[in-house]
Symmetry: C2
Subunit: 426 residues, 2 copies
């Protein structure tokens, strides 16, 4: 079955917000085994929403919309789609009570514009909204002899995502038999182009499972995707393909594999936490240019408290001296961005936190602060454990207006250092 | 003139990546004064790309594509579009040298699949790629008597964004006269629904500038957008509308205004840094459940080093005691998640860093660790300055699987605490 996503919102067309709903729903429908060939975004405009809906219903069995269900004037999705499908709406008292209760619970009064959220097309399946006010709905309609399904979800991700899990997924599961399963292999030390060159034969001949490399800033990801009648078969197909890839030239680059989007997004930090756990080591970081990003990334992962003790953000030289014990002479002689300073920082944070292994970063993230000797993108790393202290200097990027990217690459590199150390590579 | 965005990439359709390019280009073309009514995503599929291009060329003057320009098999955008427009391609030796030099500089050998990146449609304007390998291009074609422009950019944001700034913007500026200008007002302490209720009269009667409220997790944003022949006029129109809104009921909620997307995205932290600068105060944070996010958000802002001294990530109780001097009795009697502990943490980090004002957070971000007395989402805040110590306990969210959101809300609330303190509200 073919499913397509239709996102409604002028704020998306204007680039005011990034369309994370589109990515979320896309991932979910792929996991349910739906094929998806188009995704469309239109603004809060009745005529263009009608046209987009008509096009989508001509080519897809299921259309999922996000956005435009709220209480405000520009929330037109529900009324427009109901009208386009010729379905009248009624005021649902139960939903109106839900909405009123939502406000009462927060000590607020419900404004009149909220009533439109309780208007429901006749015969619609209602998805109750426990995370906000606007309910989602599912509508059915025969188009050209085939039954089409239109599912409407609210735009805020904090409502769209749990509602999709709780109501959308069970609804969609009844419509399909096929299962799609994806396995992600994470590679460090190579690039997309080399990865594809290595994998070309496999990619050329593989239709199911498919194999595709993606460039993800500090790593390359290979996605293996299989379609089958049941999950077990799809998993087995991906597993066999993985063995084949791992046995070839790409094998040495693979440092992590996962089948969940959360782990794929957080591969480096999860791989580091696993290595720390295997080695029985606790972790702390001393951060200058990343100012807390490394510790924050570790804390992103639920249950990280068994390895993460904490850390020191030593943005100023004073804090490097006072909290981490970096000698004033080192700062004077080599500067704060030096492997010498990084070494002292890593040792200092290990001393004050008592962690088993620590990393430190001190660098120039830009846009200012670069010199010919230490251009923007220069980062010095330190690592301290009971084997001693390791330091390394790296230059990231070639663009001084790349502060955010330099800091992300620095964060990832620091974590890879820990993995390399525990694995005995450095 | 009407411009639309056509993103190419199966990884977007499958939700493997979030389409940040779409948001970026959308924002840029809006700023240049183009109208945009559709955004479409198709996979790496020749036939569907052709159809999407045809549809786009029928309704828009300019089509901007992102993605599918790289060296791999599934990079089909350029060849497909050139063929669809009937333009033959040739091997551009200069570009091939660029690509080869890119690899040589990194000590890598260029694989053969890179040659397709140097194939250029005849007559195309070439956008050199200094940030990666695949060049962008601009093509012109008469469709139904009107000249259409098709601009192709690579998919990786680290290439797409600088290339758009350097090459895409000047190309597009020549095509249009109109200017669009947006001013964002940031409101704390209200919600989208109430904001719209307050603003309904203004919204109803306003066509240019338009006024629209958006819900942005911990704040509401009102966007005022004006279209005019020159920037000065558009700015004046927005400024007048702002004065009108600020004079009404919404005025008391406004804590920040900006006309740049970067500042809008970082409104709370930039507002805090401004208040710190005005008050001549340095800043540090003691973070438990956010594990560095507050310091990291401050460090996101270039030039933050004049206010940010650093901080302590005290994820474990041991670090709370050792580095921040939280008394063991306090941890035993009240627990780590308590206003008492938060108070000691804020005072401790102020003492060890010497900062003028500090905040602390300690809470339960979930999914585990909640109790009936302290459910997931419970966060205790502390603030210390020369006026004394302030503490507050807050409950965020009603969903225990909301770790990321709880941590983001905690980070924003901590910054708002600093703003409220400096403004004398607490």
């Amino acid at each position: 079955m073919v499913c397509e996503i239709l996102c409604v919102g002028t704020e998306i067309l204007l680039g005011e917000i990034v369309n994370t709903d589109g990515a979320f729903v896309a991932r979910e429908i792929a996991a349910l085994g739906f094929s998806s060939y188009h995704q469309t975004i239109v603004g809060d405009n009745e005529q263009r929403l009608r046209e987009a809906l008509r096009t989508a219903l001509e080519r897809s069995d299921v259309v999922i919309t996000t956005g435009g269900l709220g209480p405000t004037l520009d929330d037109i999705t529900k009324a427009t789609i109901a009208d386009a499908l010729g379905i009248p709406m009624y005021l649902n008292e139960e939903i109106l009570n839900d909405v009123r209760a939502f406000y009462t619970k927060r000590g607020l009064e419900m404004t009149d514009n909220n009533i439109q959220q309780a208007m429901i097309p006749e015969g619609a399946v209602i998805f109750r909204n426990k995370w906000g006010t606007a309910p989602g709905i599912a509508l059915r309609k025969k188009v050209g002899g085939r039954t089409r399904h239109v599912l409407l979800f609210p735009g805020p991700p904090s409502e769209c995502e749990p509602m999709f899990y709780e109501c959308g997924r069970p609804y969609l599961q009844q419509l399909t038999d096929d299962v799609i399963y994806s396995l992600n292999l994470h590679l460090a030390g190579t690039n997309e182009s080399e990865a594809e060159d290595i994998l070309r034969d496999i990619m050329d001949e593989s239709e199911n499972p498919t194999v595709a490399p993606y460039d993800c800033e500090h790593e390359v990801r290979i996605r293996i995707t299989a379609r089958a009648k049941d999950l077990e078969t799809a998993k087995k197909m991906c597993g066999e393909m993985k063995e084949r890839i791992a046995a070839g030239k790409a094998g040495k680059y693979i440092y992590f594999e996962t089948d969940t989007p959360f782990e794929a997004k957080n591969a480096t930090v999860i791989a580091m936490i696993r290595e720390l756990r295997k080695a029985g080591l606790t972790f702390a970081a001393a951060e200058s240019c990343t100012s807390g990003m490394i510790a924050a990334r570790v804390g992103d992962i639920p249950g990280a408290s068994d390895v993460l003790l904490g850390g020191v953000v030593s943005y100023s030289n004073e804090v490097k001296k006072r909290l981490l014990g970096v000698p004033a002479e080192v700062l004077e002689k080599y500067g704060a961005v030096s492997v010498q300073c990084a070494g002292y920082m890593a040792e200092g944070v290990r001393r004050v936190t008592g962690a088993g292994i620590t990393v430190s970063v001190t660098g120039i993230a830009g846009p200012d602060g670069g010199t010919p000797e230490k251009p923007v993108g220069t980062v010095c790393f330190g690592l301290s454990d009971d084997k001693g202290t390791y330091t390394e200097r790296v230059l990231f990027g070639n663009n001084k207006n790349d502060r955010a990217r330099i800091r992300r690459l620095t964060t990832a590199f620091a974590m890879m250092l820990v993995i390399r150390r525990i694995k005995g590579i450095i």
